[in-house]
Subunit: 341 residues, 2 copies
């Protein structure tokens, strides 16, 4: 199964694409300068998360490692950057009508909190079988939750209905220029704080964080190579970049649940043009890296965050002498840790 090759270069406006939000989002490709603007917009609104180092980790990785700790970000994930940039990019008239998305993950919580901080409504279409804890988190941030059947068509129909009724602005979790630019601010801070880096490793799910990281590097550290890392069980980005054709996702079974989504045409276009390369890692290596970070650094990272760490540990010294890693988030289900199964 394959999808027609996208005709897009990195700086062209997007043509038609397949993503579920297609008819509701703007087809703009973000540029490096958008990351700088996002950083100004987000100042004081998102946390400037710490950059941690560890000599033990350096020893394992064969290089100096700089961990950008987005697990300490509001809502526990980098997603709050993109959501806040989207919400704060709206005109007052747009913002009054609110923002909307369909999601049951970190993006929904991030969008809800970003909207509440601006004092505008957020509408989240969520399948009726979403875990109560996730529903409670989103509701706790003040969003209006609209239930739907647990299918993609039902979610899309629910979102369309909300938009038609409220005039709310749709904010996609990654297929949105404002979101991508916002996610890039994490890497921008990392580059500012760590100094010249040979490489930055970033997990790839839908590609929003990876795309933003590429743009940030182009802006602030053109000599820094950005590598994307995926679970081997969710290697659609690696296959897409290898074949030059956007590939469909695999069945969502990897432990790195944040990376089960596939690229969009937009993020594929950015990554094709800017990524230095992709790596894939095994489930065992993901869990092992996660556990080593917990034990040695005493911080909670979710499996998705462990994915680039696993790549670093698998090839000591291979990425240069000074390597940054974006730890994307720290939202884990403590009742179902991967080593307690």
């Amino acid at each position: 199964m394959s999808t027609p090759r996208s005709p897009l270069g990195p700086c062209c406006p997007l043509g038609p694409w397949r993503a579920s939000f297609a008819r509701m989002t703007s087809p703009r490709l973000p540029a490096p300068e958008d990351v700088r603007q996002a950083a100004e917009r987000l100042r004081g609104l998102v946390r400037r998360t710490p950059v941690l180092t560890s000599r033990t980790l350096d020893g394992w990785a064969g290089c100096q490692v700089f961990l950008k700790c987005e697990n300490f970000q509001s809502v526990g994930a980098f997603k709050f950057r993109g959501a806040t940039n989207a919400v704060r990019s709206l005109t007052d008239a747009q913002a009054r009508r609110g923002v909307a998305t369909h999601s049951s993950g970190n993006h929904a919580a991030a969008l809800a909190l970003a909207a509440r901080q601006r004092g505008v409504p957020a509408y989240v279409v969520m399948p009726d079988n979403a875990p109560p804890v996730k529903r409670a988190a989103v509701a706790g941030y003040g969003a209006t939750i609209q239930g739907c059947a647990p299918t993609l068509p039902a979610r899309e129909a629910g979102l369309r209905e909300v938009v038609e009724r409220t005039g709310a602005e749709v904010v996609h979790p990654y297929d949105d220029a404002r979101v991508i630019a916002g996610q890039g601010t994490a890497a921008l801070e990392l580059c500012e704080e760590a100094g010249p880096l040979d490489a930055v490793l970033v997990p790839v799910g839908g590609g929003g964080l990876a795309s933003g990281t590429c743009l940030a590097a182009a802006l602030a550290a053109p000599g820094t190579r950005v590598f994307g890392v995926e679970p081997a069980l969710a290697d659609d980005a690696a296959r897409s970049l290898e074949t030059g054709v956007l590939q469909p996702p695999r069945p969502p079974i990897t432990v790195a649940d944040g990376l089960r989504t596939a690229l969009s045409e937009r993020t594929f276009a950015i990554l094709r043009a800017r990524l230095a390369g992709m790596r894939t890692v095994s489930e065992q290596d993901i869990v092992g890296a996660m556990r080593r970070v917990w034990e040695r650094l005493k911080i909670l990272i979710e499996p998705s965050s462990a994915v680039p760490v696993a790549a670093l540990l698998a090839e000591p010294g291979a990425f240069g002498k000074r390597v940054g890693v974006i730890l994307s988030g720290g939202n884990v289900d403590l009742d179902h840790l991967p080593w307690c199964r």
Copy 2:
């Protein structure tokens, strides 16, 4: 069962006491000034750990909370401060003969690393049934491990033998003026960084950290009250302070395994004179507080660290408007988390 009341005031030299290291350690009571000297001695040798804050935690606690994160200290616990202060207090001639202790916990690892950093030998007497992972940690820091039967008399005999053979200096985990002064440097940094605090909450096991915290507060923040917190299942310090008589420990069953030890005459004397009060917390509250810190702050703390957090959450607003907490360590067995039992 009771022990004769100690005749000691806070500034008197100690009389005879019962602790296992009795004939091998100096009977000096440390003073606040010792903490300042320790801080100078430790500069550049121990990590200046971060002070974390969280609006969510503030909301739960009904006050502004400042968490001194000794879980990020070398070897994962405050113990490295006291051990390093002891090792660095030795003359060159003493140091060459090395340091010795009997322990299977954080203190052994801390002493081993502190000795290695000074380039001197460390001897650790460890029961033959100690967990292999703890043995490996101590050996990994370069200490010489001497096995013994898993009884207190065997440990003490093993330690005496080592000392007679090597001339090594015994460093007790808490019943040592140099160790107590070193532990106090965590609270000194907290007071410097957080500004005026109404109270500091600290876990109490053997009382070394609590004693050092009292001395640090007397030195740097005389208006700050220091409260000790224990598991209700290990409340020997609370009972000792209430009765004025040093009480024996209870059976070592609390989940807060770092707090299963009892006060010594020395730490009892300091705490009697300086502590504002004691609180005890239930096992359920300890585990609940630990889990809330993991989930919201994304940091690993061990059950002992959760003990003062539990006290804070149990009485919102009761300790003042600005309250510090010493998070003593982050060494947890990820295969046996208390909520996975």
